[in-house]
Symmetry: C2
Subunit: 155 residues, 2 copies
């Protein structure tokens, strides 16, 4: 039950992008340095992020990437969707999957519920919140319990 490192990198890269972004497009090289990732690999990620309209690109000298929308409108689950195929925990339930869901398939409801939980949680966090958190940390405010992870949309 692991999230691919690709998905993890994508989220981190988006935070970096948002922090570095000040109206000007951000060079991937800078993000690669910050996140200690190879440039070609990062490029691969951003192609996918662009296709999914998470970022937009500006080509040529002085070009680079920037968030396609305000950070408050970019959710973590969207970022992950862009680079990873699925948040659905079992294959047969994927759209296009061939789950007959016959009477034997009693565990379906469990996987379905699990998938909803994962989705809901990741959809409850925005890039804006992560960035705010990152800024707080960078300011040397090395808060021990800086982020109380939100347990749900509302409890």
């Amino acid at each position: 039950m692991r999230l691919s490192t690709k998905a993890q990198y994508a989220v981190r890269a988006m935070v970096s992008l948002n922090l570095l972004h000040d109206g000007q497009p951000v060079n991937l090289r800078d993000i690669a340095k910050r996140e200690d990732l190879s440039l070609p690999y990062l490029e691969q990620l951003f192609v996918m992020l662009r296709r999914n309209e998470i970022v937009k690109s500006i080509r040529g000298p002085g070009g680079g990437y920037m968030p396609a929308r305000p950070a408050a409108d970019i959710r973590v689950d969207e970022i992950i969707d862009s680079v990873e195929e699925t948040l659905v925990p079992v294959a047969c339930m994927e759209k296009g999957g061939k789950c007959l869901c016959s009477e034997q398939c009693v565990t379906r409801s469990v996987w379905q519920g699990l998938g909803e939980r994962i989705r809901d949680f990741l959809a409850s966090i925005t890039l804006e919140e992560l960035s705010r958190e990152a800024r707080k940390k960078l300011e040397g405010f090395s808060g021990e319990e800086s982020l109380t992870v939100r347990k749900g949309k509302e409890e």
Copy 2:
């Protein structure tokens, strides 16, 4: 973000075991037939389930497996723990992992929260509930919305 098929099989096999169990030990061959799994593979799973005290075994002719405890005391997350290494979504946070969690690691809180959500949800479902559900389905009560997946321990 996929649950291994091994984990899926384990849960299904446990439901089968519990349904077939009537005080007598259950032959793995029967479960293999029911779930359409190879016997050796199923044996592998049950060795792990036994080590984790989810089931107990009785050797010799007429032997087999039975739940180690009342089904109401067996949680789905325990079953999955037994056969799969982890429910923690990122490697560096595994116990024994080497997450320095320095100030850059702003995404840690997200993965931590996600892991807790997954754990909580799977811990909220017992073998007893799954079995009850299965029986209902088997009785031809092909209820469309037979199981409203519980959204949480309590809301």
